[in-house]
């Protein structure tokens, strides 16, 4: 069972192996049914864009079945490897709403009335994670009263941690697409093009450039493409674009998001609008050097805690450690997987990065760095999905690392 229409498809992935891996972990945990509700779980199994509230039922043996809002079921069916019997809909009617259809499916069609049911709950900074809500938990546990509900999302997190070649190739293509967005954005602002332009307008120009290259979504929930200029760059994070117009002498931060076959492009690039001050240039050179330092140190066996310690020393030596925000990473995977680094539950601060997480070959992470000089009204952000290699890392966005001054 694969998800690649032709032989030699560089983007083909082995969904059968993914299901086998999940079911093996379910067996280890004595779980009879896995009820997935997170977007990342749907992306990993369905291998299609599942944006509406959906649930996937994975039995201990056999194929999973997706339940989605009925209006989108046929579209998903046209894109997934799953057949019609395994892509089902729900809607607001007696016997047809979410809890009814899934309860009936598990008890009557699968014939399982008791056992252990794995579900997904937790927390994140990522709004659209898709955890089972408290209300859903109450209703499902009431409807499936023969089951013991156990939180088991780490099963999917473990199974999806190391990326296969087809998935990595999808990220490479998403990186190429985002680079085209960055090129389009740069063309739009150069030679005075920035005058009178707002952050939101620039976000749209970049989106169009990426869509023309095959992106299907600016998937990020913080305003899709995050653009900031002026004082907000000094916070070290982009956050949603506003209707503020660009102004001479300000820093610009373009954090673009594209999606290709569920792989997430995410590259943040920075500029200075002329005339740049010496202080701005000093900050910019510091940031570029720090990003390059971290990119040079990512490799299998590196840890987030180790990288931030090494970066701290490097920044200290340059005299810019006051401006480097802590953290050099956030998680990345297929659509819906944008937060956790690693898969372990046993970490010092649950649902935050484990500083001792040891990166493995073919794991992916966002090299994410923030530089905030709020008093000087300047800051920068760098993001790039990277593939961890044995002796280094591959940047999927090839856009040159630099902070140029734009006239």
């Amino acid at each position: 069972m694969g998800s690649g229409k032709q032989a030699n498809d560089p983007y083909a992935v082995d969904i059968g192996k993914r299901i086998d891996d999940i079911q093996a972990l379910m067996k280890e945990r004595d779980i009879d049914i896995y009820l997935g509700s997170r977007i990342r779980t749907h992306s990993f199994i369905v291998d299609a864009f599942v944006p509406w509230r959906s649930y996937i039922v994975i039995p201990a043996e056999g194929l999973p079945t997706l339940f989605t809002f009925v209006i989108d079921a046929t579209r998903i069916l046209s894109e997934t490897w799953m057949d019609e019997d395994h892509v089902r809909g729900y809607f607001g009617a007696g016997g047809a709403e979410q809890v009814d259809v899934i309860q009936y499916f598990i008890e009557e069609e699968l014939g399982i009335e008791k056992g252990r049911l794995g579900y997904e709950t937790g927390m994140a900074t990522y709004t659209a994670e898709g955890w089972l809500t408290h209300y859903e938990y109450l209703k499902f546990s009431e409807a499936l009263s023969g089951f013991e509900f156990v939180n088991a999302h780490d099963i999917v997190d473990h199974a999806s941690l190391i990326k296969d070649e087809g998935t990595i190739n999808r990220f490479r293509e998403a990186g190429r697409i985002v680079d085209k967005g960055q090129e389009g954005a740069r063309e739009a602002i150069e030679n005075g093009g920035w005058k009178g332009m707002t952050e939101t307008e620039l976000a749209g120009i970049a989106a169009l450039a990426m869509r023309r290259e095959g992106s299907v979504s600016e998937w990020n929930f913080a305003g899709l493409n995050e653009i900031s200029s002026g004082w907000r760059t000094g916070l070290g994070a982009c956050t949603p674009p506003t209707t503020k117009e660009f102004a001479a002498g300000e820093p610009l931060m373009f954090d673009l998001h594209g999606m290709f076959k569920l792989a997430l492009g995410d590259h943040s690039h920075n500029y200075l609008l002329a005339p740049a001050t010496e202080r701005q240039r000093w900050h910019a050179d510091n940031f570029v050097a720090c990003v390059q330092f971290v990119a040079d140190h990512y490799r299998a066996g590196a840890t987030p805690g180790g990288l931030i310690t090494e970066l701290g020393q490097f920044a200290e030596d340059r005299g810019c450690s006051d401006f480097i925000l802590p953290g050099v990473e956030h998680g990345i995977g297929l659509f819906g997987d944008e937060w956790r680094v690693g898969a372990n539950m046993d970490v010092p601060i649950p649902y935050w990065t484990d500083p001792e997480h040891s990166y493995q070959e073919n794991e992916m992470v966002i090299l994410a760095m923030q530089y905030a000089a709020q008093e000087d009204g300047v800051g920068f952000r760098y993001e790039n999905p990277i593939v961890i290699e044995k002796g280094g890392c591959e940047l999927t966005s090839k856009y040159p690392l630099a902070i140029e001054e734009i006239e």
Partner: protein, 132 residues
């Protein structure tokens, strides 16, 4: 014609006749499916089923009975009175579904596509003069 008792053998005979006459394969979009209506709390206290099987738009089986119904792609469960109201056109099927007076079982995406067919079927059945 004189009224016949709803769900009686006479009503079933009349229903078969009218369905054959009025619902051509084209009108039925040449669908293949099957459904069972489960009538709970009938006036005599019993539970009955109404089974319809369609192949390539032709109604191949239509029956009313007691006990275990034939296996069907869809099952619609409701009180006798709810089905009677739908047949008398006093209650719309969609309204009955959305107010949980009907319970639908089966593949919901397929069920939505079949909804217009079921409407046509209900209209024919509603045209039979019947005592409820």
């Amino acid at each position: 014609m004189a009224n016949v008792a709803y769900l009686s053998p006479e009503w079933v005979e009349e229903a078969r006749k009218r369905l054959k006459e009025q619902l051509t394969p084209e009108k039925m979009n040449k669908v293949t499916s099957s459904m069972t209506n489960i009538y709970q709390n009938c006036p005599d206290g019993k539970e009955r089923y109404m089974y319809v099987s369609i192949k390539d738009g032709v109604i191949t089986d239509f029956d009313v009975g007691e006990g275990e119904p034939p296996k069907a792609e869809f099952k619609i469960i409701a009180d006798y009175e709810t089905f009677a109201k739908i047949s008398r056109a006093e209650l719309g099927a969609v309204r009955a579904l959305t107010s949980r007076k009907l319970t639908l079982r089966g593949h919901m995406a397929k069920a939505l596509r079949l909804a217009p067919i079921v409407d046509k079927l209900n209209k024919v059945l509603a045209s039979i003069p019947a005592d409820y």
